[in-house]
């Protein structure tokens, strides 16, 4: 439901059904709402059976990449090694705040999903990595885990099955990049949150070098519903002409919009109706100018492009952007796109882990140019430089933070070039800057 707004009739609340309901937070309250029935059922199932069911449901990773969850789980086979499940609760993508609400309102829903996921991948231990700033979600989830241990749901004899299931909450400490799965594992291991080179993939060598699966909060919380209502039920949610995106999805809506909040709709929902009906459209007297539909890392859409898009993985690709994390950022006509894109670049420059040359230097350089343009001291050649730097920053680094910085810059320059041009100052070209004062080359040889 559109928490903190009342639920809209066109929403399909599954994960968000109990947002705003404090009773759902307790173990008793969660049980009264059918909680932990799926876990009990799943603990009686063979992991492969669960993997197949999730595969059949069509559930895809809700963190941003959209990788089919069942297939990811099926990489985990009993091999005598210690397996780990990591729950990625490092929700940090600007514009995204859905996992926060899941953890605040239905922490047991997450714990159930995590325990179920751990069983499905032959793991005894799961870690929920929650970003450090989420003090309330950390408290809620920690309380739920403690309740679950006390009730024998977790522990040495999980739900009386004789099997061990441990779930631990791990607090981050302020680093966007830890939402990248391998960076999260490094962080959990007590290292700098540097993304790792892949391969090896986590399913082969992940957390503590062991086979690991990492899933987003929303993904794991959805699984108990699939176990309860069946793969067909989940498969039945979505637009008829797209078999690739199924189920419901939480969309966080923020920025210049009448009713910001979290909305849960079925995949493929028309974006125009979503923005204008469910979210109430622009603020009074203003007009929507641009929309970033999937968290700050995806290409920016103009209002027209956004209103014509469909809200699923393929629909957003067709519109020239990505579904990403489902964080919708709305800009209205009062906004200075140059300033806002510069602000986004600054975010990435702040968050770059410093490993790859292109990202470490490129995000900061991009920011400096954009802030100079925003301050009225730009020149047309800066546009070419920005695009060229962006090109050099894309597809060349260990993770995609660098690409994420370049993407909104490129799409912003393409779609709102007039705003950039309006900012240009007098040409104070410095001419050719020599790249390096040289020593005598022949003497070196």
């Amino acid at each position: 439901m559109g928490y903190p707004n009342p639920s809209h009739g066109r929403e399909t609340p599954v994960l968000s059904k109990y947002f705003g309901d404090p009773e759902a937070r307790t173990l008793a309250g969660w049980r009264a709402r059918g909680g932990y029935e799926s876990l009990e059922k799943a603990l009686g199932m063979d992991p492969v059976e669960i993997q197949t069911m999730v595969k059949d449901s069509g559930l895809r990773g809700r963190g941003g990449a959209g990788f089919p969850t069942g297939i990811k789980w099926s990489f985990m086979r009993p091999d005598g090694k210690t397996h780990y499940l990591c729950c990625n609760a490092d929700e940090s993508e600007p514009g995204t705040f859905k996992d926060r609400e899941i953890m605040r309102w239905t922490p047991h829903g997450l714990v159930e999903g995590v325990a179920l996921g751990a069983h499905a991948i032959y793991a005894e231990t799961a870690y929920i990595y929650i970003r450090g700033e989420f003090t309330e979600p950390i408290a809620r989830v920690t309380a739920a885990v403690e309740e679950a241990y006390a009730a024998g749901i977790l522990g040495a004899n999980a739900m009386g099955t004789g099997r061990r299931l441990d779930v631990h909450v791990h607090r981050g400490a302020g680093a966007y990049i830890c939402g990248e799965e391998t960076a999260l594992m490094n962080s959990l291991e007590g290292r700098r949150g540097n993304p790792r080179i892949k391969p090896p993939f986590p399913a082969v060598a992940g957390l503590f070098g062991q086979p690991t699966t990492i899933n987003n909060v929303e993904t794991l919380t959805a699984v108990p519903y699939i176990i309860k209502h069946g793969a067909d039920w989940y498969q039945g949610l979505g637009r008829d002409d797209n078999p690739k995106s199924r189920g419901t999805k939480l969309f966080s809506v923020c920025g210049n919009i009448s009713r910001p909040g979290n909305y849960e709709v079925t995949m493929g929902f028309p974006f125009g109706e979503f923005l204008n009906e469910l979210c109430g459209g622009a603020l009074p007297g203003r007009e929507i100018k641009a929309v970033i539909p999937g968290g700050s890392s995806v290409p920016i859409l103009t209002r027209e492009e956004a209103e014509g898009a469909l809200m699923d993985y393929e629909g957003m690709v067709a519109a020239g952007t990505m579904l990403g994390s489902g964080g919708v950022i709305v800009f209205d006509d009062k906004q200075d796109m140059v300033k806002q894109i510069a602000r986004l670049a600054r975010f990435y420059a702040h968050e770059s882990c410093a490993q790859c040359s292109q990202c470490r230097e490129g995000t900061a350089w991009t920011t400096r140019i954009l802030e100079r343009i925003a301050a009225g001291d730009g020149h047309a050649r800066d546009f070419d430089t920005l695009l060229s730097i962006g090109e050099n920053m894309s597809g060349k680094t260990i993770c995609v933070l660098s690409d994420s910085c370049a993407t909104p810059v490129a799409s912003g320059l393409k779609k709102f070039r007039h705003e950039f041009e309006a900012k240009l100052g007098p040409d104070r070209s410095r001419g050719v800057v020599p790249v390096m004062l040289t020593t005598n080359r022949s003497a070196v040889a």
Binding site: E351, A354, S357, W365, T397, V433, L437, T439, N440
Partner: protein
């Protein structure tokens, strides 16, 4: 490979050349085998792979994106291109990024001339910078030990951090902060004092980590370089002696997988000033009538020395830093006359480099103790017995520094003393009959035998002072005049004689030793694999 138990081989094409390498090899290493150098910064064969500089991106057919050559293992049938437009542009991009905050201060940077940032920028960088913004600035920091950090030149390749963490296992360096604010940091009160820490200066591909000792001493292109062996201990690290105007200004490790990989310790690295000492014995001297030591020409001095030694039992007090060749020739004097050979050697604490098997700063702080033992010398443990009509040949600098009175008294008991050395220590001067000036190991060539029995050649890197002659040459001449050898004209000929006389050296030839050396036969059986526990007199 015909050996069926060997690794599975993979065949691939790199820049149109066919490479056949063991499974699991990285593209960057495979490329080396066919003569293709893929530009790189963070990769170093002696360190764990980081894959962060993104300089070694190559175009692999059927890969959607450029692949880091250091972190991508070869696959059968793979076709790799290093010089496609796409790969070249990626490298140019990296170079531009690495230079935006760089001070471009090559004219005052010690690394200039041997800087990989400079080299690759000349090779493939942009001719001009597009960077118009202010540059980041961080002050220079003293990292302790011999290391200085210039953060403005740092490209965050993390070689230094990985070396200290994974190879030296003394993680005193870190990457601090993040984004473009990141720098190489350390904790307060924990300096780069590890005896292996100086290697971070060699590993640094740019001018960010510098040797304080070498600071502003010379430009890289002014240096002459010669292959040599470190005399700091019995490990026998392969090194390059670097001289400017005939003066040794620094020692650098020279890669040898069988001995020191890519590294050397501070004891060896920083102890080179003695090589340049000016108070050398640089003219032959003979004690004349009236008991005064006076300068003589070589002919007269050699004749005088030969006359003094001939017909007497000759004992040799040798140095553990003398070459195998010198030790062998001097040994002929004692072998033919029934004398004894002893040598003195200083001892210190062992300091292994944990990340490299069998690499350590060894207790025995001289290069050729093993060679001396194999050639029939004993460690001097008690005061030698020298009869009144015996002769003593003092070889090299065995009487430098602290010499026990008992040893001097014992030597003084001999009838004649011939000194063959690079200097003339004050306490021996009054005792000797003839002093013959020889060159030190950087002024001549020859071989040392390290503690594992590996025989390694060192080459000449500077000219001899005054009339000093190579030790093997002086001893060949002297022994020929005494009548115990004949016909040696080169160190190689001396070595051939060694291998024909000493079974341990048989089948080794001077030429085959090349620049990385070869083990003597049966090293294990001779107990050479155990660290020596020799004592000092």
């Amino acid at each position: 490979m015909s050996d069926t138990t060997g690794p599975k081989m993979v065949t691939l094409t790199i820049e149109g050349r066919t490479a056949v390498v063991p499974e699991g090899t990285s593209i960057i290493e495979a490329a080396k085998t066919v003569g293709v150098l893929i530009p790189h910064y963070c990769y170093h064969p002696g360190l764990p792979v980081a894959g962060v500089c993104r300089m070694c991106l190559v175009d692999v057919e059927r890969f959607p994106k450029l692949a880091p050559a250091c972190a991508t293992t070869v696959m059968e049938g793979q076709v790799v291109h290093v010089h496609t437009e796409k790969a070249r542009e990626a490298r140019t991009g990296v170079l531009e990024f690495l230079l935006i905050n760089h001070p471009l201060d090559c004219p005052v940077c010690d690394q200039a001339g041997e800087c990989e940032l400079q080299d690759y920028t000349f090779q493939e960088g942009r001719a001009e910078s597009r960077y118009e913004e202010p540059k980041r600035f961080n002050p220079v920091e003293d990292f302790g030990g011999d290391v200085m950090y210039v953060p403005n030149r740092c490209i965050l390749c993390t070689r230094c951090v990985r070396f200290m963490g994974e190879v030296a296992e003394d993680p005193v360096l870190n990457v601090s902060e993040r984004g473009d604010r990141a720098f190489i940091g350390k904790a307060e009160g924990h300096d780069l004092t590890n005896v292996w820490a100086g290697n971070v200066v060699d590993l640094c591909p740019v001018g960010a980590l510098l040797s304080k000792d070498f600071l502003n001493k010379a430009r890289a292109w002014e240096l002459d370089r010669s292959a040599s062996i470190c005399t700091g201990c019995s490990q026998g690290c392969n090194i390059t002696v670097e001289t400017r105007d005939n003066t040794v200004v620094r020692l650098k490790p020279r890669s040898n997988p069988a001995v020191n990989e890519y590294f050397m310790c501070e004891v060896g690295r920083l102890d080179y000033r003695w090589i340049n000492r000016r108070d050398r014995l640089d003219q032959p001297q003979v004690r004349g009538d009236g008991g005064v030591l006076h300068v003589a020409d070589w002919e007269a001095a050699l004749d005088a020395a030969a006359a003094a030694l001939r017909g007497r039992r000759v004992h040799v007090l040798a140095s553990a830093n003398a070459s195998n060749e010198a030790l062998f020739l001097a040994g002929e004097l004692m072998r033919t006359s029934g004398g004894r050979g002893v040598f003195r050697v200083a001892l210190g604490d062992e300091a292994p480099l944990p990340g490299v098997p069998d690499l350590s700063l060894r207790a025995e702080r001289a290069a050729n103790g093993t060679g001396a033992r194999v050639l029939g010398y004993e460690t001097l443990s008690t005061t030698p017995t020298i009869a009144a009509d015996d002769a003593v040949l003092v070889l090299d600098d065995s009487l430098e520094g602290d010499v026990p009175d008992a040893l001097l008294e014992a030597i003084a008991r001999g009838a004649v003393i011939v000194h063959v050395g690079t200097t003339l220590p004050a306490r021996i001067a009054p005792l000797l009959q003839v002093a013959l000036p020889i060159t030190n190991h950087t002024e001549e060539e020859g071989t040392f035998t390290n503690l594992r029995g590996r025989v390694q050649r060192f080459l000449q890197s500077r000219t001899a002072p005054g009339l000093a002659r190579p030790s093997w040459y002086v001893l060949a001449d002297l022994t020929e005049r005494v009548g115990v050898t004949s016909g040696f004209g080169t160190p190689a000929e001396v070595f051939t004689a060694i291998s024909s006389v000493h079974p341990a050296f048989s089948e080794l030839t001077y030429a085959q030793l090349a620049l990385r050396g070869l083990p003597i036969l049966d090293a294990t059986a001779r107990g050479l694999d155990a660290p020596t526990t020799a004592g000092v007199a």
